[in-house]
Amino acid sequence: MAKRVGIEVSLAIAEMAKLANVDVVAAYPITPQTHIVEHLAQLVANGELDAAYIPVESEHSAMSACLGASAVGARTFTATAGQGLELMHEVLYVASSMQLPVVMTVANRALSAPLSVWGDHSDVMSVRDTGWIQIFTENGQEVVDNLLCAFRIAEDPEVLLPVMIHLDGFHLSHMIEPLFLPQPSEVEQFIPPNRYPFPLNPGKPVTMGAFAPPIIYSETKKAQQANLEASKAVILHCWEDFGHHFKRYYSPVESYLSEGARVLLLTMGSFSETAMAAIDKMRQEGKDVGLLKLRLWRPFPFKEIRQAVKNADVLIILDRALSFGGPGGPVCSEIRSALYHEQNRPKVISFVGGLGGRDITVAGFEYIVNRGIQISQTGSEQEFEIFGVRE
């Protein structure tokens, strides 16, 4: 039986990596990810986790070392945040393109300048197109559950793609809360050993990372796209199997009191919990409001999003990142585009908020919903509104 413990989410992540018996951790400390890698280093130092902890000199090298370790067939894990993810940027593409199944947790953080160590999704959005499988989480339990799934999905012979688990910096990473950690035997049963099909091995030499002239580059990218799309079936199956084993269920788009609601709010990450509280309150007041939570960010769940919003009149989306000079929040613009060809589609209203660690309270979400409804009726001169900014 899984044990219910009070533990800081960052430490639980490290404990889950230990349960997954990772072989190599290469990491560089950055707020608010530090507690994850500190605890991993401690687990290795204590002999509780038999892994190589490589204290690299930068995030660029962290991800690069992960590539190397993964390429020899090692189960590989790292964690980063904000600027660290930015410094990894080009390496992220390599991990996905070369199909190296690295698993990473990202304690989501705003981007400089000005420097901010606090949470938002600017870092997530800047790595949107890197070809990684990306999953949002809203509490510690979801983080560890999806981290467990991440190893299985990444290393699945049908997938072999890196996976990023997003958790909001501080709001999730630094929270001590109750959660269930599985028993080692349950983990062993749930994730088979990593059997990378073409590891670097002198017994069977392969060339990895050959370069592609124009005559073949498009084919490599088509293969990558097809592979990432196809991973969705494996992800869904993994969540289903996870539910079967652990009685906690995940899906690409999750809903809360959204059945038949004319107005839908969509959020991702830890803010979804506050949003739920707001929806509770508004429902009690008799308002026809529901909540959607985006869990699977890549591959993007087109079908599920269309299904989830098809009966709504208004869809209000709160992004925690800005696309400067662009069409509004990145998640919103994707969803809008996903709905463009639909016969029946809600009006899509874009808000950006919670930047650089700014909290949004229950009252804040109420405002967003009410204002969203208002905009849907009267229209707005702006493509999107930034919530809670002092004018």
Partner: protein
Amino acid sequence: MTKPESELTWKDLEIGSIVTEPGNASQYQTGDWRSQRPTLNHDRCVKCGICSIFCPEGCIEQNADGYFEANLFYCKGCGICARECWTQAITMMEEEE
């Protein structure tokens, strides 16, 4: 034999575009880059093999008679072998001659 790139479809690619056939570049002819070819004067050759060690292509091989001859499928005609041959047994000839 590896399929030429112009015939490969995306489905032909191995995961991560890995190349699983070691050294298959040896199918690729670099000999047509050459504008001059090394020719060996067997009388002067002492079969020391110094030409083979200095060949950037690694295409100079010892034949059954013990002479070192450039494999013209690969030889790009740099002339290092001729320059480094201390018995001056190798001369570079224009391809047209």
